[in-house]
């Protein structure tokens, strides 16, 4: 940790971690391509018959696999499925509305089973000669439900029996003391299944406050109850429990979580409005507030734009029909949308990008990135230009970006910007190394020519070996200022000028001295 900056530099220069790169079309990829060609050329010899290939259905599953077969059932027997499907659907939708109250089931019946010993005759004979039987007899027959005749198991034995999947009656544990001993034994047994089973029993036979009070001391059991309530969807009891424990933030979060299940946007908006008053941490309250405001905005924008789109009056909507609604999208996506469809709107309108920027305090960097992507997508190059142009107090214009210009270039390139546009921004990339790379990559030849004389020339025919981490600070002052002649020029052979060509002292110097 105390390594100096030089070490660090050395680290990044060393070949250790740069043994290969994904970026360059380097030898290895060429190699790969070659191999591919070679292998493909063999195809005509090989592909005369397909019998070696795995039989694969149209969807790509190997024929005969279970997933494949299921798809087959789905497509071939739709008619027979329909009845079941609809019942399934009905079932699941009605289920969503099912109240999950504590029912009055009896636990004794729950843990009572039929005495049904499995017969072993039907087991395929193949097994008997494997010798497995001797090692793992339990495996041969699934755990059947045994009847438990004795009711005098100690708490420890009860837990132990339950761990083995045997049925035990818990009704016997009536005093609080007994119940708690049972619970502690279950926890000590490390089996979550049993812990939960005991908790289900306690939940049914103890008043909430008493259960909660006892659980406060027993964190492991508490975790299990909370998880159980979450899984079974007993939200009310969960909230009561969390309130009892004074975990107010969790109360708020678990209520907020419910919005995920509300499909209707209006209802969701209303619900979120209600969430604003919940006891979140101060930092989160603003997030919730923003969530609400965002959805409110989206509803307005959506209604408006849907109208515009169907009316067919607006050119942009005609030219670029919306692919999806903006409802429930993240803020950045909304900003992109608004930069795409509503870029020129005045700040007063809800859908204008500047309004969004202000309302949600979107940082400059984020704003520029998103606006750039949106305008570039529309190929509105003047807008792109305007995005980076600033005027100083003397009236001179200058290009400035809160993100690196290499990023700008990348985004423009991805949107198929013409070379003239690209070139302009490639020129603005600070780091010469990157600039040259980008220029070469995107064929901005003018820039390449601009850059090249700035660099100390290489020996003829040698591939340039650049060290990208080199920055201004690493050049010795002599080279930096062009004042002193370095002791040995060889050291600078591979270095390149960090500054732009027009102001580069080093280059002037090197040209003068003819290197």
């Amino acid at each position: 940790m105390s390594r100096s900056r030089a070490d660090e530099e050395e680290y990044w220069h060393s070949s250790k971690c740069r043994a290969f790169t994904f970026d360059d079309e380097d030898d290895e990829l060429c190699q790969l391509k070659e191999s591919k060609r070679a292998v493909n050329s063999l195809r005509d010899i090989v592909d005369d018959d397909e019998d070696e290939l795995e039989k694969v259905s149209w969807s790509g599953e190997p024929v005969g696999s279970i997933s494949w077969s299921i798809k087959e059932t789905a497509s071939s027997s739709t008619s027979s499925l329909e009845g079941r499907d609809s019942s399934l659907q009905k079932g699941s939708s009605s289920n969503a509305a099912l109240p999950k109250q504590v029912s009055s089931y009896s636990l004794s019946s729950l843990f009572k089973g039929r005495n049904k010993l499995p017969s072993l005759q039907s087991l395929s004979d193949a097994l008997s000669d494997t010798g497995v039987k001797n090692y793992a007899p339990e495996l041969r027959r699934p755990k059947a439900e045994y009847k438990d005749y004795s009711s005098d198991w100690s708490p420890k034995d009860t837990v132990r029996r339950m761990q083995r999947g045997k049925v035990c009656s818990l009704e016997r544990f009536r005093s609080l003391q007994d119940k708690l001993v049972l619970l502690d034994e279950a926890v000590a047994g490390h089996d979550g299944n049993v812990i939960t089973a005991v908790l289900i029993f306690l939940k049914r036979t103890l008043r909430r406050e008493i259960l909660f009070r006892e659980l406060e001391e027993r964190q492991v059991a508490l975790c299990h109850l909370i998880h159980f309530l979450k899984e079974t969807g007993e939200q009310k009891m969960l909230l009561d429990l969390l309130r009892f424990l004074d975990r107010t933030e969790e109360v708020a979060l678990s209520q907020y979580r419910e919005h995920l299940n509300i499909q209707d946007v209006e209802k969701r908006r209303e619900f979120l409005k209600g969430c604003i008053g919940l006891p979140f941490s101060p930092e989160d309250i603003s997030h919730i507030q923003d969530h609400y405001t965002l959805l409110e905005r989206q509803i307005i924008i959506e209604a408006n734009d849907r109208h515009l789109e169907t009316a067919g009056q607006s050119e942009i909507f005609r030219k670029y029909p919306r692919k999806a609604s903006i409802l429930n999208m993240p803020l950045v996506t909304t900003l992109f949308y608004s930069c795409f469809y509503h870029y020129t709107e005045a700040e007063g309108t809800f859908s204008s990008p500047t309004n969004l920027k202000k309302t949600f305090k979107i940082p400059d960097k984020q704003y520029v990135l998103t606006a750039l992507a949106a305008r570039a997508k529309l190929r509105a190059w003047e807008d792109v230009d305007a995005l980076f142009t600033t005027k100083n107090w003397l009236g001179y214009t200058k290009k400035k970006a809160p993100i690196g210009f290499h990023r700008v270039v990348e985004i423009l390139q991805r949107n198929n910007a013409p070379v003239q546009v690209l070139q302009e921004y490639v020129r603005l990339v600070e780091d010469v190394e990157t600039r040259l790379n980008l220029a070469t990559k995107y064929k901005c030849h003018d820039v390449v020519i601009d850059v090249s004389p700035c660099c100390v020339s290489e020996e003829k025919g040698q591939k340039p070996a650049f060290s990208p981490q080199l920055s201004h600070a690493n050049l010795p002052p002599c080279a930096w200022w062009g004042l002193l002649i370095p002791e040995s020029w060889e050291n600078f052979q591979l270095w390149k000028c960090p500054l732009r060509s027009d102001v580069c002292w080093f280059c002037c110097l090197s040209r003068r001295t003819g290197i």
Binding site: M1, W12, S14, K16, A19, F20, F22, D23, L29, Q31, L32, S35, K36, L42, V46, V56, G60, G64, S67, I70, S80, R84, L88, G91, S92, N95, A96, S103, Y105, L110, P118, S122, L123, A126, A136, L139, R140, P142, K143, G165, H190, D191, G192, N193, T196, A197, I200, Q219, C223, E231, Y256, L260, E283, H287, D290, H291, L331, V332, Q366, I403
Partner: protein
């Protein structure tokens, strides 16, 4: 990579028996319900089931139709109760059986009772704990383990692990030595011991095929799981998602219009040679291989009829097979390259390495920020933030707030819940005021904390803890010293799996403990078992148990270690995992 490898690495035991056991038990269960029947299978169980049985086996046992039950939005159990109730309403009479795998929970019976179908259905368990994915990988196929235990603190799967250990012990043991680290590891171990004591052990005196076991909790080392994988198998997993040991290669890989499902295991002659290699050495290998193939095909030029006949009948089949595999893996490499190049992979790796070493934290932070601002994959952004947090022992409050705000703006405000989860589990935390980076406690003790007996007072952070990554890294020398170039083609240590920049912590711990035969000498020692009565012989096969998941990189690193030290690692994992899967387990989005 073979030069330093020892020749006396033990062969892995035959795990085919596990498959047979599972299949036979499934058949037995099907026969319990004689006559024609329909089978509803939960979506998550599909792929594992595919590895055990096929349609013809099911058909043989009178399974008529197969249906896939999506576990979302309704839970499958409630869904099946709905089916039963719907049938009852329409006066239909059928028999129902619910088969739970790997085990039935009491809470499930409660649901059946509440839904009013208890008694209408019979229940059974299919004790399908162990799915051998490869000659040295056994998966429990419990991806939910990670969230259930580490986030929710639910101990429900501990019993399953203990039973799995019992089964493995009975088939391949006895395990003479056990090491472990982490609270869950200890509980699994204890429960397993208890099971062993109860059952009359007839395995005594047998020569064990697996002599040592090492149990490890995932939260011992999140860092390794969060790093971008660089070995071929890891990259394939990160890019295409290996599911139950097989992968779907889409049209971009197969260069045709169809997808191909490929089993990736030691049987694949090409894959088995490149799976553990650093990605950069894979190209060379593949091109060499294709040249050889070409040469072998070319041989047929000068052949007379008889030789040709021989060639066609004996060699052609093998060559074709190899050709097919080769073109698939070349296609996969190309596809990986394309994707990575698009994603500024180079820059990302650089940021990751600086995080691991603790340099240029500012720069890496702004890299992550830009990643978020550009709405690049939400999972990747989350992963990088977690890596930053763990290596730095939490983010400083200012960064935490600003990254969180930007994240919510880019990917949706509901991720507030995701952040809450990550904080609880300790993957993404905020430093308390006044806590500085330099105040890192330089003890490894935290690493080997065993809190099984201790009371957890702070419930909110009950499972979270400080990582002290930097201190541990220094102590164990996880960042290799740099002398000259790190030759990724001839790696000298496990760090090669991360381009020579970082030795996976989890694997380093295993190495150290096995080397010392215990925790002594490692400053703070956790000894879960005093290894009494162990026999020297036959203990060179180690069962490495990863509770909460194991990544391909970790497997590659340990396989490397095994080759160096002449031992064999068998991996038992609750599921093969990756940074993406870990992050997805924490993400809260609408269903």
């Amino acid at each position: 990579m073979a030069s330093t490898a020892r020749r006396d690495v033990p062969e892995p035991p035959d795990f085919g028996i596990l498959k047979r056991l599972a299949r036979d038990q499934l058949i037995y269960l099907l026969e319990q319900l004689p006559g024609r029947k329909d089978l509803f299978i939960e979506a998550d169980l599909m792929s594992p089931l595919d590895r055990i049985a096929n349609v013809s086996i099911l058909k043989q046992h009178e399974v008529d139709k197969l249906y896939k039950v999506e576990s979302r939005p309704a839970r499958p159990l409630v869904l099946s109760a709905d089916i039963v109730n719907a049938d009852k309403m329409s006066g239909r009479s059928r028999k129902y059986k619910i088969i739970f795998s790997p085990q039935k929970f009491y809470a499930c019976e409660m649901v059946l009772e509440e839904e009013g179908v208890f008694g209408d259905v019979t229940c059974d368990e299919w004790s399908f704990y162990l799915l051998p994915l490869d000659e040295d990988i056994i998966s429990m196929e419990l991806p939910e383990f990670f969230r259930d235990y580490f986030l929710e603190g639910d101990h429900r799967w501990i019993n399953s692990v203990a039973r799995a250990l019992q089964l493995l012990n009975s088939l391949y043991g006895p395990f003479s030595r056990a090491y472990g680290i982490g609270r869950c590891a200890k509980m699994c171990y204890e429960l397993w011991r208890e099971l062993e004591e109860e059952s009359e052990g007839d395995s005594q005196g047998r020569k064990p095929e697996i002599g040592n076991i090492f149990l490890m909790d995932r939260d011992t080392d999140y860092v390794t799981a969060l790093c971008s994988q660089m070995v071929y198998e890891g990259l394939v997993d990160d890019t295409f998602r290996i599911k139950c040991g097989s992968v779907d290669f889409g049209p971009e890989v197969t260069s045709s219009d169809k997808s191909i499902k490929v089993l990736l295991n030691a049987q694949d002659k090409v894959f088995s040679q490149i799976r553990n290699e650093h990605f950069s050495s894979v190209f060379g290998f593949l091109s060499q291989k294709s040249r050889n193939l070409q040469a072998q095909y070319d041989r047929r030029r000068g052949m007379d009829i008889k030789q040709m006949k021989n060639f066609v009948s004996q060699e052609l089949k093998g060559l074709k097979q190899e050709h097919r595999l080769l073109s698939l893996h070349i296609g996969a490499c190309e596809s990986i390259m394309k994707k990575k190049t698009k994603q500024d992979f180079q820059e990302m790796i650089k940021a990751e390495h600086s995080l691991l070493e603790g340099f240029d934290i500012r720069e890496s932070t702004s890299f992550i920020e830009e990643h978020i601002d550009r709405q690049v994959s939400p999972i990747e952004s989350l992963r990088l933030m977690c890596l930053l947090s763990i290596t730095e022992n939490g983010l400083n409050p200012k960064d935490y707030r600003s990254l969180k705000t930007q994240y919510l703006q880019s990917y949706g405000p509901e991720h507030l819940l995701t952040f809450h989860n990550l904080k609880r589990i300790g993957l993404l935390t905020e430093q308390a005021a006044g806590e500085t980076l330099t105040a890192v406690e330089s003890r490894v003790s935290k690493l080997v904390t065993d809190r099984a007996a201790g009371k957890i007072t702070d419930a909110f952070n009950s499972l979270a803890r400080k990582s002290n990554f930097r201190a541990i890294s220094k102590k164990l020398g996880l960042i290799p010293r740099l002398d000259g170039e790190y030759d990724l083609k001839m790696p000298r240590d496990m760090a090669y799996v991360f381009s020579g920049a970082y030795t996976p912590l989890s694997c380093k711990i295993i190495e150290q403990v096995l080397e010392r035969r215990g925790w002594q000498g490692l400053e703070e020692v956790l000894r879960l078992l005093n290894g009494t009565e162990f026999s020297e012989a036959g203990s060179r096969t180690v069962l490495a148990v990863f509770l909460g998941g194991c990544t391909c990189s970790e497997m590659a690193a340990l396989r490397f270690l095994g080759r160096e030290r002449g031992c064999r690692f068998i991996f038992l994992t609750t599921a093969v995992t990756s940074s993406g899967r870990l992050m997805e387990a924490m993400a809260e989005t609408r269903a």
